[in-house]
Structure formats: C-alpha cells, structure tokens
Symmetry: C2
C-alpha cells in the first residue's frame, strides 16, 4: 500500500484567480492525483487574485511530480513555485553551535576567554579529572562515520552521509539532552579510522560510531573500546540490538513464552545481526540459529569469514544445516536484519504457534506483514507506518545519557541488556498488546528509564567514574 | 598597577544579622582589603537575618583569598559559601549543540531523519558541491589544537586546552556567526596531526588551527593548506598578523609616516613573529629586522633553524648584527611578540621620532608602557586594561565569515592583508588617535567589514567557489 509521507511533501506556491471554485478545483486535482492536503497559508491577497502556500504529501518522488503536473492544468490556478519541504529543512544544515552564556561585555570576555580561562586550563592540567567538570566533555559525543554503510544507500562517502549525522545529533539532543557533533571521515581504512578517533577523543565524553560497513566496524569498535577510556558504541550494532531485545521481551510477554525456552532464527549476519545475537544471548536466549544468503551459519561450513566462524561456534546448538526457511520450522521468533525475500511467508507458516516475526529490512521487510497477518502473533518492522517500529531512537539517547551521567569508561553488555529491559518496561501491562510492544519514540519516559538503568548497570560493572543521584540527574529529561 | 578583573571575581554568599551596619561593615572590609564591589543580590530574608550574594572583583587569586579572610572576621556576618565566578561559568562547558528546527512530530522525524534524509544524501552523492547547500559544512569550522602552546601556559595538553577552544567557538559565533567546534588532539606528532585533520575535513568548511607550538605549526599549516580544499588558518600566526597590520596602518596614520618608508624591529621569531613579518611585507614594508633571545636574525648567523634561515634571507636588508636593543636605533616601529625584557626602555628611546611601540607579551609587555609614555607616540599591548589592545577577536570571526560566504578554497595572503586594511578602516579619521588605533572588539562593524573585504579578495584571487551579493549576505552580522 502506498504511504503518504512528510518526507515526500512539498509546498506549492499558487496564484489563484479570486472567483468561487478555483481553490476547490485545485483541491480536487490534488485529491484525484492521490495527494494528501496539508497546511494551507495565505501569502498575499491582491486585486482579483490570492497567493497561497499549499503543503501536499505524496508517496514518492514520481508521485509528487505527477501531482504538480495535474495542478498545472487547472484554469485560473498558476503555480509560481514548488519547494521540497525536506530539502528546505536541510538548507544550510540542521544543527548549530550555541553559547550557553552571552558574551556582551568585557567582563564576559575576561571570564570566558583570556585572561580568566587560563585559571580553568591550569586546574585541568593539575587534575585531569576536572575536564569532566569544567568542559563540554561531560555532555559531548562524537558521531563518527566513514559513510560506507549509510541507511539503505550503502557507500555514499563522508560528505553525503553528513545529513544523517546531523539528524543523529538532533535526536541525541532532543531525546537524551546530549550534545553530539558529526565527524565524517575521509577514509575507509580501518587503521586510519582508529587512529583518527583516538586522536580526537580528548574533547568527547563518548564515541557513537555510525553507518560503518561490516566487517570493518567490528575491528574499529573492538580496538577503540580497548584503547579509549570513554564509551565507544556502534549504534548500527548495539543500538539495534537493545531495541530488538526490548521488543523481543515484550513480544514474549504477549504470547506468554519464556526467554530461556524459545528458538530464534536471525537472517543477516552483518553488523546488526551479530550484535542482536550476542545481546539476546546475554539476556538468556540459548537457541539461536543465524542465516545469510547461503543458508544457516554452522560449524564446518566452508569459507566462513572470521566473524561468521566465531558466530558458528557460539550459536546453532544442533549445528542445523539448511536454508533460512528450513531453519524456521518450529522456531518461536524470527529476526530479519537482511533483505526482502530472505524468508518466505511459507517458511514463516512452519514456525511454532504464536510466532513472533521481526522483519526489519528497510524500506521493504523480509516478508510482507500482510501475508503473515493471519498466522503470526506479533509482527514488528523498521517502518513507522506499521505498528511496532523497531527504532534505535528508543535506545541511543538514553544509553549515552546514562553513560555520561556516571562518566562511564565503556558501555558493557550488561548496560545494553539493562537498557533493553528498561525500554520494555516502559510499556505497562495494561498497554501491552500484539500491536504495542515498543513505546512511542516520543514517550518522554523512555530515555529517562534507559539512562537510569544504564547508569546503575555501569556502577555495578565498575565502569562508572562516579555514582550519582540518578533521580535528580535525569529529572530534567522528563517533559 | 594592580588591575581588578572579572576573571578574578567571586561571589560571597553571606548571612547578615538584620541590624543597621552589618552590610556597611562588610562593604568596608572588602574595600579595606582592596576588593571592588560588584552586583549584590538578596537571596533570602528570614527572622533577624538576610542572605545576600555579593560579587567582588580582585586582582589575583591571592588577593581574592585575602578579601575573603578579612570578611570572615566581621561580627554579625557569616560567610556561607564562596564561589569563583569564572569557574562557575565553566561548569559543564560553555557551548552546546542546538537543532535549528524542533523535532516534535513524526513528520519532523521523517524529514530530518529517515526516510526523508535519504533523498538529501543521494543529492549530495550525485553532486558533491551540494554539501555546501544541504549541510552544516557551509558554516562550520573545526578549532583544532594539540594543546602544546596554550595562551601563556605552554604545553598543557589537549584536555586542559579545551576551555580555550570552547571560548574560541563562542567568539566565532558571537562575532562572525560561524559555528565552530573544538577538536583537541591527543598527539603532538606532526604527521598524526596532519592525518587527523585531513581525515575529519569533509564535515567542515574551514580549519582554525590554534595554540600549536612552533616550529611544528608551520609544517602542519603548510601541508594542510596544500592537501585540503577548505581554508586552513593558524590563528596564532595569521590572526595576530592581521590585527598587528591593522594597528600598524593606523599608527602610521597617527604619526604621518608611510608604509614603504618605515623601519620595523620584531622580537620573537616564533609562530606569530614570522607571520607578522610576512604580512607586513605583503602590505609593503621593506625594512624589517627580526630578533630572538640571541639577537638579530641575519644571513650567516650560526646554527639557524630552517625557519629562521628563511627568515634571515627575507628580512634584514643591511644584514644588521646586534642585540634587539641595538637594532632599535633609528627604527620607526617596534613589534614585540616575545617576553618581558626583550627590549629595554633605553633601547626604545633610541628609536626615531614618533616611535610606535607594540609590546604584546602577555600578561607582562616587553617594556613597560609607563616607562616609555613620555617618548613613544603610539603604544599598543595585548592587554585589555591599556589602550590599543591587539586582540585576534578583531580578525578571525570576520575572516572565516567572509571565507565561508564565498566557500573559499583557502585564505590567501591577499585576503589577510585585505582584512587588516578593513579593520584599520573601521576607525574613522575623526576617531583616530594615539590611544585609539584599533576598534573595540564589540564594534559590530568590524566583522562585517572584514568579511566583505575577505570575500572580495577571495574572488579576485580565484579561490572563491561562488560570488555573492556581499551586502545581503553579511547584513545579518550588523547589530
């Protein structure tokens, strides 16, 4: 079903003859072309004419063009200008740097800059831990990418990836109160990525790796976690894993199954698939089978990469050999992090009763939710136009909020599992339903709950530099 | 003379018995201890007592402590808390990341992030020049340091340097409307600095190098200028040079001498000294003699570094050999970028009539302005408590504003000289005086004038990616 989206919306600036029916003709043409009418503003009223801005939602680029074409045919309506709302929003970038205090007088200058700032520098030079009190490090995260695996677009390079990183920074601030800044790297060399992030680390309280292709992302993250004393977190791996865990826990609540009893099949053994598997295991799942385009990953399979070799050793307890569809027989949960068609509706129908299906390929799920609606008990996707959207925004802002609040040295598996449980717990028992297993991204309780759980887990794991009065610290997140 | 500074100000929270005279006693004690009273706020009034916050300016740390000690002796006055205003200002850092547009609805998310952002990324992938339209690159500068030559503090490292870089970012925004973000490098290795800046360049429209020690700073800047297609500018070199040029031009206007006629002596042949010399030469000065702690730099002097060897070849036309003081005989202008005592008042008195003295060592000038007040026609320093402060804030915000506005590939010597002339020209003929050769840092005309001149020069030099309607573009800077 075609889906009208603000991401394909545009503003028509139209000059309408001032007689009854011109706007009705315009509205009818937009409707006949399948466009959805949004906000309408009067720009100018002159003798015998009116100029209006009309927002229209389309389903894709071609649809938008068709709607505009239809509107151009109307008598008495002249289209002066068409502007793409998404591009308008991006003009000049989406974020900026702001001062927390105004600099209006010589006294302001003397405190924020020379000579006053020298005493602050000296205090940090004498006690390096003071950098956490007296600078932005306390609240700042670098969003680092090499632009090699951006959304569904692939290797588009660092400059073209920048709009995503800016958006990520917006989400960090909006949902976690975290100051993030994009760092787009002009290299895809593992050693150079590592050396660069190590070099820029002093000014940041955490590193969010983003959209770095597998298998490079594994080594980059592992090496940086070892060398840096601040959290390093590849969101495509661990952010996804945390939200899948939350959805998984609540889906099991819906169908009344226990974590330790279920069989899970994962398709796509890339960055996200590996991390999801590890996090589900850390949460208590023992029976996981992974599959890629060549079928299940098993011990003894020829030509396995190092990552998949390790995966084979840690999963697939019965060493099942077969296709992804064959692996689904009797499974309780399917987690798709791969491509449309990775499994079939027929395969899904061989799963155990009360099947849980997470088909997260974007924008087209592994299997059509409509085709399995009569069979699966719970279905989730990565899309906002279906129920149960698995969206990383539920995880990363709260995870970094909690990690920064306790000045964590790293983000442990335990902290990730705690985050997953915290997200799941924000859906109350009386709200929980097959089509409501994850909270809304705009639920203000989520980031607070995640931050609290992550901070507590960091403390338990001994990676917190300080303990905090968590209730007081995260109170400002509640809105 | 001791100078009361906001940078040594503190807030006393005092509990005063509610009877006539307690506040008078407090104010008298502060005055007797030499403290200057600032703002006074009533915090709380209770039975028989009042709590007030009293701001006090001191001249240095020891003085502040002495004032507090004196206040503790007063009957009926209890000091509850003393807080350092400069440190208070720095708590948690001075800058933050802000979104330009709110994210409050799913439509907002769909345009700023997935799925809408994908079309913007694709547009940049197809036409790389679009990164200048559709991202923050258009207005963003990295403030990069290795923390090796911070203010007068020296090599305090990247973390302790962060407060200065945050302050710099504030000044970039306040005076130039530029979004700057601190990048503090955990390396002092020339190759690693260069490789790191090259790697992070795609997300920035310019690189402001800051507080990097000589001679490393020369190679870092030169190599980055060659390899990057965005402006690279070491402010300690070129920002200083531009403001010195502006002060120099106006000082010559005051005394009625011509650029091409004057003899200039520079002490301190480090980052700033070399750049100032080159910029003065580019502006038409032919007779410059440089001196370091070993005396004048001349062709044939033993054991010259590569930088000073080149300096010797390009300066000192008569190949004068002697001390800095000896070089001053008959000179028209002295430019000190060195240390207190680098020249003597006796040496200054051997200069030509209408001597111009820029003694910019901080916080103590090369020679005391008071000692030469009866001789020199114009005196400037780096301090805000004397007339004619040579302050880089006059240059870098406007220089980057202009460079970003035309998407300059680099900042040329011509652009720097143009900036110097533009700063000088903001002091009108009827304002110009021996104690007013540079405008106030808060003069809003400065950045606009500098940006306009720099953009025009970039266009002339063929380093502008676009020409602009400069009047319209910089109009928003005027306040």
């Amino acid at each position: 079903m075609a889906h009208h989206s603000a991401s394909f919306s545009f503003t028509l600036r139209v000059r309408l003859d001032d007689r009854p029916g011109t706007f009705a003709d315009l509205a009818r043409s937009i409707a006949d072309a399948g466009g959805l009418l949004g906000a309408i503003d009067l720009v100018h009223a002159g003798p015998g004419m009116k100029t209006r801005d009309v927002n229209v939602l389309a389903t894709d680029d071609a649809h938008a063009k068709a709607i505009v074409g239809a509107c151009r045919q109307i008598d008495g309506v002249e289209i002066e200008h068409v502007s793409d709302r998404t591009f308008q929003l991006h003009l000049g970038g989406k974020i900026e740097m702001s001062s927390k205090a105004a600099i209006e007088t010589r006294d302001d200058l003397a405190m924020a800059y020379t000579p006053g700032v020298a005493r602050v520098c000296e205090a940090i030079a004498q006690d390096p831990a003071e950098v956490w009190n007296l600078t932005i490090k306390r609240n700042t995260v670098a969003v680092v990418t090499d632009g090699s695996a951006v959304l569904g677009l692939g290797d588009i390079g660092p400059a073209a990836a920048l709009p995503v990183m800016e958006g990520k920074a917006q989400l960090f601030k909006r949902f976690g109160g975290v100051d993030a800044w994009p760092i787009c790297l002009d290299t895809k060399d593992t050693e150079r990525i590592i050396a660069t992030v190590e070099a820029i680390a002093p000014g940041f309280g955490g590193i969010n790796l983003e959209d770095i292709a597998a298998p490079r992302c594994f080594e980059v993250e592992e090496r940086l976690r070892a060398s840096l004393d601040i959290p390093v977190f590849h969101d495509d791996q661990h952010g996804t894993a945390v939200v899948v865990l939350a959805a998984f826990l609540n889906a099991l609540r819906v169908v009344g199954k226990r974590v330790e009893d279920v069989k899970v099949v994962v398709t796509g053994i890339g960055a996200a698939g590996v991390a999801v598997t590890e996090t589900l295991q850390a949460a208590g799942v023992s029976h996981i089978i992974g599959a890629d385009s060549s079928g299940t990953v098993y011990r003894g399979r020829p030509a396995l990469t190092a990552v998949k070799q390790r995966y084979a050793e840690q999963t697939n307890p019965d060493n099942f050999v077969g296709s992804a569809d064959e692996a689904l027989a009797g499974a309780d949960v399917f987690v798709g992090l791969s491509l449309p068609g990775a499994v079939s509706a027929t395969g899904i129908r061989t799963m155990a009763a009360d099947a849980i299906v997470f088909a997260m390929a974007n924008p087209t799920p592994e299997v059509s939710p409509a085709e399995i609606a009569d069979f699966a008990a719970v279905v989730a996707t990565g899309r906002s136009d279906y129920p149960n959207q698995i969206n990383n925004v539920l995880a990363f802002p709260g995870i970094f909020r909690g990690a920064l609040d306790v000045r964590a040295r790293q983000i442990t598996e335990h902290m990730e599992v705690a985050a997953g449980h915290a997200i799941a717990a924000t859906v109350r028992e009386d709200e929980l339903a097959a089509d409501y297993i994850v909270p809304s991204v705009f639920n203000p309780a989520v980031a607070t709950a995640v931050a609290t759980a992550v901070a507590a887990a960091a403390d338990e794991d001994g990676v917190a530099r300080r303990t905090i009065d968590i209730d007081a610290e995260v109170a400002h997140l509640a809105q």
